[in-house]
């Protein structure tokens, strides 16, 4: 049976998990890390770098390194978030043909789903390496506040990466799913998610019947571990400037090292009370004198530098609980998600606010991917009865006279759902009405997002306010919105299904899928060559080690001399093939070398 992988596609880090033998497990990448930075870069030589290696050169190659693409996915170029990114991002964001943001790396322009696809493709390859077979199905998580367009763009990213995205689920839902897996619980839980670049708080109800319901969610898309690191960097830079009158931020290599060191320092201070930052040869002075950065950093100092950031998360928690119509005391469990929640001061602030210690039963970096994997396995196995009840992330409604927004399905309403409302005409003898389907929280329609529109015609001629039209909004389990308008007297009806658009056309998507396939094949090819090269190198080395011994053994007789000469010739050929680097030739050479090695081992073994 096909395996379904669960992918936590994070703003700064991603994680992949799978259910094996009924147990969800997180898959480590080749470097042994269970999370992979959501970063993509293109080097001067045109080579694509994804994950840790992209992160390690993020400062020295800033204009060609993309991070936090998730903040842009599914958004319009003119949206405030994209405009903010334009000012802050070191990489170049341009306007695409469909009013969507595009990213330029070196001489090529990519769509945002393409960038996310590169990360998803990496996660897929990690899973395939682990499972030893191809993976084609995935459940991907997104923030609970993502709208239809953002969800569809994430699905498109999955498709470009060669994945059939069988479900998109909310991150807090996935976390709660992993938390409640195998337990029989009836609880109201808060999921406090402080990741690398974003903060989210969600309140959920978990029922023993296996129902997970998000009742409220909020967050800050520009608050996360990166801000904490920046405070450490600022402190280090300031100290160095006082001592040497040099601003380390002006040197890219120094800044890259500072960033790495700041993150390391922050992580270490979660376990120890003080740590040393030691960066020898951080910069050279104007007199070509090498300067070193060395200083002690304490947990107390870090907490002092970041207390306002922690406080910001608590204020958002307060607001979210109020929005859910709950009291702090109603929260029966707090689940911590995201690497930043390992910081003792964050844990303490959460415990203080909620009046209870947060749950220690789940791994903050892995819990979302584990939940996605659980959901994936449940969708494939009909016998499992895990039911997810998600909520609408935004209010759905339509535009009415005066440019106002009339709500039909409120925010945080459990899906699937259906709501109807009666509207009337505003003019005498009005025979048609235009239904503008919108999404958002503003009372003014033009401040909300237009999802679709249609016209209901053939209304009977009557004075204003006498023709009644029933408008019904329906959202199915996959989040697809259908709107129906019916003249109650004539029964004449018109409807629309709102199809989320990611900003890519079918043709563009198909081209991107093909290009991504080509990359995957080329990369697998490189890996095969590298593996064959290593095998040949190992065999050559072993044969060379055994050769003197074998020569000694056969020295006394004519027997075996030919074999030694042949082995020498084979070693010579192997060296040539190694230089050429052709995968097929390497494989053939390896087989011959293995035969020789077996023979040599046999000869030496007998002695």
């Amino acid at each position: 049976m096909d395996k379904v992988i669960g992918i936590d596609l994070g703003t700064f880090n991603s994680c992949v998990a799978v259910v094996e033998g009924g147990t969800p497990v997180v898959i480590a990448n080749r470097g042994g890390y269970k999370t992979t930075p959501s970063m993509v870069a293109v080097t001067e030589a045109g080579k694509r770098l994804v994950g840790h290696i992209a992160k390690r050169q993020a400062v020295t190659n800033a204009e060609n390194t993309v991070y936090a693409a998730k903040r842009l996915i599914g958004r319009k170029f003119q949206s405030p978030q994209v405009q903010a990114a334009l000012k802050n991002a070191a990489y170049r964001i341009t306007e695409g043909p469909h009013d969507d943001p595009r990213i330029q790396l070196r001489d090529k322009v990519y769509s945002v789903p393409e960038m996310s696809a590169m990360i998803l493709q990496e996660m897929r390859l990690i899973a395939e390496d682990y499972l030893g077979s191809e993976v084609s199905k995935a459940v991907i998580t997104v923030p609970a506040y993502f709208n239809d367009g953002q969800r569809q763009a994430t699905k498109d990213a999955g498709a470009i990466a060669g994945l059939d995205v069988i479900r998109i689920i909310n991150e807090p839902t996935a976390a709660a799913l992993a938390y409640g897996y195998g337990k029989s619980l009836d609880r109201t839980v808060a999921v406090y998610d402080l990741g690398g670049g974003t903060f989210d708080i969600s309140i959920l109800e978990i029922s023993s019947a296996g129902v997970f319901k998000v009742i409220s969610t909020a967050g800050d898309t520009f608050l996360g571990g990166e801000d904490f690191d920046q405070r450490v960097i600022d402190a280090l830079v300031s100290g160095f400037q006082q001592e040497h009158d040099i601003d380390l931020r002006q040197d890219r290599m120094a800044l890259q090292r500072l960033k790495d060191a700041a993150e390391k320092t922050k992580c270490e201070l979660s376990a120890v009370l003080e740590t040393e930052v030691n960066l020898p040869f951080i910069i050279s002075s104007a007199r070509n004198e090498a300067l070193h950065l060395q200083r002690l950093f304490t947990r107390r100092e870090l907490e002092g530098l970041t207390s306002d950031l922690v406080e910001r998360t608590i204020r958002i928690c307060e607001q979210t609980i109020a929005d859910a119509g709950l009291e702090k005391g109603d929260i029966e469990e707090v689940i911590l998600v995201g690497g930043m929640t390992r910081m003792p001061s964050v844990q303490a602030a959460v415990a203080r606010f909620f009046g209870r210690e947060p749950s220690k039963g789940v791994h903050p970096d892995e819990v979302v991917a584990l939940g996605a994997a659980i959901q994936g396995a449940a969708l494939l196995d009909a016998e499992q009865d895990v039911v997810l009840l998600d909520v609408t992330p935004h209010t759905l409604g339509l535009m009415v006279v005066g440019g106002y927004f009339e709500e039909l399905i409120p925010q945080n309403c459990t899906v699937p759902t259906s709501r109807s409302k009666i509207f009337t005409t505003i003019r005498d003898n009005q025979t048609a009405v235009k239904i503008l389907v919108m999404q958002g929280e503003s009372k003014r329609a033009d401040e909300n997002e237009l999802l679709g529109e249609f016209v209901l015609t053939g209304l009977r001629r009557a004075p204003a306010g006498q023709v009644e039209i029933e408008v019904t909004f329906e959202i199915n389990a996959d989040g697809i919105v259908s709107v129906n308008a019916k003249d109650l007297e004539t029964g004449k009806a018109q409807s629309i299904t709102v199809t989320a658009a990611s900003g890519l056309t079918k043709e563009e998507l198909d081209t991107m899928v093909e290009e991504a396939k080509g990359y995957a094949v080329a990369r697998r090819g490189d890996e095969t060559t590298e593996k064959a090269r290593q095998e040949v190198e190992t065999s050559v080395s072993e044969i060379q080690k055994l050769l003197p011994k074998v020569e000694e053994v056969v020295a006394g007789s004519d027997f075996g001399r030919d074999a030694i000469e042949k082995a020498r010739a084979m070693l010579e050929r192997a060296r040539v093939v190694l230089k050429e680097g052709d995968a097929k030739a390497l494989k053939e050479q390896h087989e011959g070398l293995q035969r020789t090695l077996r023979m040599f081992k046999g000869v030496v073994g007998k002695v």
């Binding site: 470097g31 080097t43 290696i53 390690r56 290599m253 890259q256 040869f281 090498a290």
Partner: protein, 252 residues
């Protein structure tokens, strides 16, 4: 130049080395000094002696790769050197003793550039492109690619569109990159740090080499380091080769 005799009427002067005439100190007795070193000179005053030779440059001397530029590229095995470019006996490693602060392994700005050292003269206003052009071509033909590159860059500094200098500098970079890469054993070779964090300070490296060293993890290949370096390929490879020579890195 020492002052002999009893020197009873003379005031003692400071010297590089002193010796009691009779080997003992006597209270209230004047002493004379025996100078054994060079005379001291005031700033700007000539000592009448030739300047001491410049300290040897460490790392990759230009001559290390000197060979004709034509024909197939082949790199003869280089002798094992320690961090001070002293040849090591066969079978010994190239680790630097950590207790002694060594001289810098890279030329400093004060040491002037390679051309000035070779020619024995300082570059002057008259040293214009014609001389440099000749120099870059000659050096390239001799296989001194780093010298040729330096000359080409100086020409390009004055004439940014100089076609020959552009072509030659690109060729030099490629040649140097290939040579350094061969010394490191290829792009897929793994590099490992063999120097303790506390001893890194004692390496005479610059901040670019310090950056590269900081990027070496448990399993880092040469190619990965090139990808993260943010430097021109031949520069990064040159620094890596020098770090290996200095005993800071090992090729696994």
């Amino acid at each position: 130049m020492g002052r002999d005799g009893d020197g009873a009427e003379e005031e003692p002067e400071a010297g590089l080395a002193t010796a009691w005439q009779d080997g003992r100190s006597r209270a209230g007795q004047r002493v004379s000094l025996d100078f054994r070193g060079a005379p001291l000179a005031l700033p700007g005053e000539s000592t009448g002696r030739s300047e001491p030779p410049p300290p040897p440059l460490l790392g990759l001397p230009d001559g290390a790769f000197s060979r004709p530029a034509t024909g197939a590229l082949s790199v003869p095995p280089l002798p094992a050197l320690d961090a001070w470019s002293r040849q090591l006996p066969p079978g010994t490693g190239s680790r630097r003793p950590s207790s002694i602060p060594p001289p810098p392994i890279f030329p400093t700005v004060e040491s002037n550039d390679a051309l000035a050292l070779v020619g024995g003269t300082r570059l002057t206003e008259e040293d214009g492109p014609p001389r440099l052009e000749r120099e870059m071509v000659e050096r390239f033909e001799l296989g001194d690619f780093s010298g040729a590159l330096r000359a080409a860059e100086l020409v390009l500094g004055q004439h940014p569109d100089h076609a020959q200098a552009k072509e030659l500098s690109a060729a030099c970079r490629d040649k140097l990159a290939a040579l350094y890469l061969a010394r490191l054993g290829g792009g897929q070779r793994l590099l490992g740090r063999v120097i303790a964090a506390s001893d890194v300070r004692w390496l005479g490296i610059d901040h670019r080499a310090g950056f590269l060293l900081s990027q070496v993890g448990e399993r880092t290949s040469v190619e990965e380091l090139l990808d993260v370096s943010g430097m021109p390929r031949h520069d990064a490879l040159g620094l890596l080769a020098q770090l290996v020579d200095a005993g800071a890195l090992e090729v696994k």
